[in-house]
Symmetry: C2
Subunit: 520 residues, 2 copies
């Protein structure tokens, strides 16, 4: 899941009761038996995380995982299995070596990670750590000629001592929380990011420009390594990128995102006037031979002569950040979707409509994989001119909120599907899945479909430790996956897909949205 | 705090009400003003943790911290400031370099630590990781000649997947928990460790003997590095020792205690038949020039001609484990005790009795510092023959349960002090300190005093994250210390010491215990 703010849509609609949407109980029984009792979810997740590793866009790790998915899709009998380019992404990148430790005032290994798309240190380095006090480039003048090869951190009042949390890291939704999700949310006023008004926005832009200017000077001064504070605690830290993935990206200095405890340790020592010495070695590799981005596609072809050209899609993004193995973000969602396909094949389902799975790439950089696919197949959101396939898609179901089991579904403001989904959830009330909300949720690939007027949905999932410990962290690893949750989710998705495929009509749609300005 | 099981003593006594123990409100006001409003606790803790570092017994880190304490004791005006040897400990040890990462199936740095007192790898090594399946030495025959220089782990059914905890990491005692502490605990039947009966004990001893025999073969085979599972999660792991600290300790193989996620990752891959390759480099140093162990001592001399030879002692252990900086175990307790002394000096207190602080060493290996001191000054627990100083000690107060503020005190079965302590706690009810329990608590240095019939007490403290995250972990660092808690505790201790010093009589004692068999 990308770092978007959750958005909301309040339609003020009343749901009208209409004829009960049919549920095929025999099919549900078969799906439950396969999904809950013969699950392969943990095997699938193991290959995506433990074996393939981190799956940063266009990295060798993503390639390994894509190769495995192609193989597995064929093994379980999917058709039309292929990698499909969605457009140009840029460079792949991976860490080949990370080592850092303080050597003064005492030896302590540092829990950290190179920021994505940053260069290495060009061999082992060792230096005093210099605390740079500079709010603007002008303040940097005093450091001129003194920073070459040095390890540096930048003083900031924004970096505060850690505070204890007295709340659990891992949580499930209780009824109260689910009821809150059901309440229509107030529409936002103003544009996101403008909450504090123009003054605050201007201040932030000025600060960002200052930082960029400072980084540019540090590059010219040829610093050895920059240390940056990483959110998190107790050995967990959250990662991000330190440079652009674009082929023509500007060069940057080597940069480590340092776990809060290790960063604050060094910072307190430097603020206290102690001499801190560090040694480090970082090696990273860039991959630019094929800058195109790819999604993995596979199908269970439709069998109804009139409906087989129509499509039900499921998917989740397959790419991850680099410091964990992207287990909850989003091997979990990918696993559930792959397992749902496996379940449907295992019960020998011959769907009326074609069922298609897509494992997106470059979601983390802006939903690029799904947006590229949607533009190619369905419609360009900048002009809303639709292609023929637009009329053929019944629904797209997405999963990308961690390991937590499905507790319901966001309608994305599409009130007409409420009673349909309510019926389809009925056989899974015993699994805790019963909540339907008119609200929408953002941050991931169903938005690419929703954005061009196609029914695209993301399920409600138990939060677990997604927001506290795993989302983009070094601790987003296999151990965070809960087998029982993945099994339940895959079973529910398989049943939703089954019923979407067999339904007399495609799912009802919202009105077509207005064309959107092109994204930067 | 050492890893002892908490023990209990139920005396079945009724507390009788007797004359109200006096409290000097003016003194309490001064102590509160200094301790709560002008605290130096965080400065003190900073020097013990951030600057001095890990303080394993007889390591250079402990030496740095001891040197700082001597200097600070003099600065705040303590007298008779000195290091005092308590007996022979053995070797010091520290980590000079730690680096390890998987290189196949992909690169991932490993969060781990050398086990204390284990040797290094003698330079960088790189090898396939071998999963040894051997319950006995006989099973090792098939590996003969194949393990030289190799990185190994030993298969064990005891290693299970991680389970989510839905409880908070950081907790404070609520009234219910405090009430439970107040309930007299049932005396234990049988000896500790025999809960499962002789069969279980015999099985455990057999398993331990098997492990030792296997380790001995691995040493002969000259393995490169052994990986061991470390308890913990999310980047936190708990450490221990991998060899003896004694001068004549048997040699062992290099050994890493590996965070659960990284260990389980490798284990799953090896169980799944994947090839795992690792690179590592570990350097450690041993220090055996001076095998004696030392405590840091300082005093505020008594001023009453009749009482100045009598002593009130406070203390806490100063040594720590090696993978963190021993912040909650036990820079916290040491800080509180040092700060209590500082408060008493700052208010220019001229005590009737002498007030003495001791910062013990080698608590983690068996309360050696305090036991050695007690044997030298007060009595030998093996014969209970007392020395003259035994009659002169009023009380010893200890702190060693993390950063959590004092919530009350354990009486260690000494019912006669109940009403005294109740009065002394009264001015601190607003700080949440009000609980008196007849129960005892174990695991730390007050036991050395209690064991020879001297009034030795440990306070009740809020648990915070001591049991979940910090006790002997790599994350036991400065960030875990809560200033407000340390301030409150130091204030309460200073007031207890004040009143103990000024009291007409020494604190009442329990009966002298029977001589104890010598410890191994």
């Amino acid at each position: 899941m990308k770092n978007f703010t959750m958005s909301a849509l309040a339609l003020g609609l009343c749901f009208s009761a209409f004829a009960q949407e049919p549920v095929n109980s025999a099919a549900v029984q078969k799906i439950r038996a396969e999904g809950l009792d013969k699950s392969k979810a943990m095997d699938i997740a193991y290959h995506i995380t433990d074996v393939a590793g981190p799956r940063l866009s266009n990295s060798p790790g993503l390639k390994r995982a894509q190769d495995w998915a192609l193989k597995y899709f064929n093994e379980i009998g999917l058709k039309n299995v292929h990698l499909e380019a969605w457009g140009e992404f840029g460079k792949g990148w991976q860490v080949d070596k990370y080592y850092a430790a303080t050597t003064l005032p005492f030896y302590r290994p540092i829990i950290a990670s190179p920021k994505a798309w940053t260069p290495g240190t060009n061999g082992p380095i060792k230096s005093e750590v210099i605390l740079i006090k500079a709010d603007t480039v002008t303040d940097l003048a005093k450091y001129k000629g003194k920073l070459k090869g040095k390890i540096i951190m930048i003083e900031s009042v924004a970096i505060q001592p850690l505070k204890n949390s007295y709340a659990p890291d891992v949580v499930r939704f209780n009824d109260e929380a689910l009821n809150n999700i059901m309440k229509p949310m107030e529409p936002r006023t103003g544009r996101p990011g403008q909450a504090g008004g123009n003054n605050q926005r201007a201040m932030m832009l000025r600060m960002m420009a200052n930082r960029a200017a400072i980084d540019s000077v540090l590059l010219t001064e040829k610093i050895g390594l920059k240390l940056t504070y990483a959110r998190g605690s107790y050995g967990t830290f959250f990662t991000s990128n330190g440079a652009s993935y674009k082929l023509d990206a500007k060069p940057v200095s080597p940069e480590l995102e340092v776990s809060s405890e290790d960063y604050l340790h060094i910072l307190r020592l430097l603020r206290g006037g102690e001499k801190v010495e560090m040694e480090a070695e970082v090696k990273t590799s860039f991959y630019d031979k094929d800058p195109k981005g790819y999604n993995v596609i596979g199908e269970i072809p439709g069998t109804d002569p009139k409906l087989k050209d129509e499509v039900v899609m499921i998917g989740g993004h397959y790419d991850s950040w680099h410091s964990g193995t992207g287990a909850t973000d989003n091997a979990a969602g990918s696993t559930v979707m792959i397992e749902a396909m496996r379940i449907l094949k295992a019960i020998d389902f011959k769907p009326k409509r074609t069922i298609r799975i897509a494992l997106w790439s470059s979601e983390e950089q802006g939903l690029f994989g799904s947006r590229g696919y949607v533009k190619e197949h369905f419609a360009d959101p900048t002009d809303m001119v639709t292609k023929p396939e637009h009329a053929k898609l019944s629904a797209y179901y997405n999963l990308d909120n961690g390991t937590g089991t499905i507790r319901g579904v966001y309608l994305q403001g599409n009130a007409a599907v409420k009673d349909i989904f309510q019926s389809w959830l009925t056989p899974f009330e015993d699994l805790g899945a019963k909540t339907i909300t008119i609200n929408n949720t953002g941050g991931t690939d169903h938005q690419a479909f929703d954005g061009v007027g196609l029914p695209g949905f993301q399920f409600i999932q138990d939060p677990m430790d997604y927001n506290t410990r795993t989302h983009h962290s070094n601790q987003d690893v296999f151990d965070r996956l809960v087998e029982d949750d993945l099994k339940k989710s895959a079973t529910i998705v398989a049943s939703f897909v089954y019923h979407t495929s067999e339904r007399a009509e495609k799912l009802p749609r919202k009105e077509m949205p207005k064309p959107q300005p092109p994204r930067q």
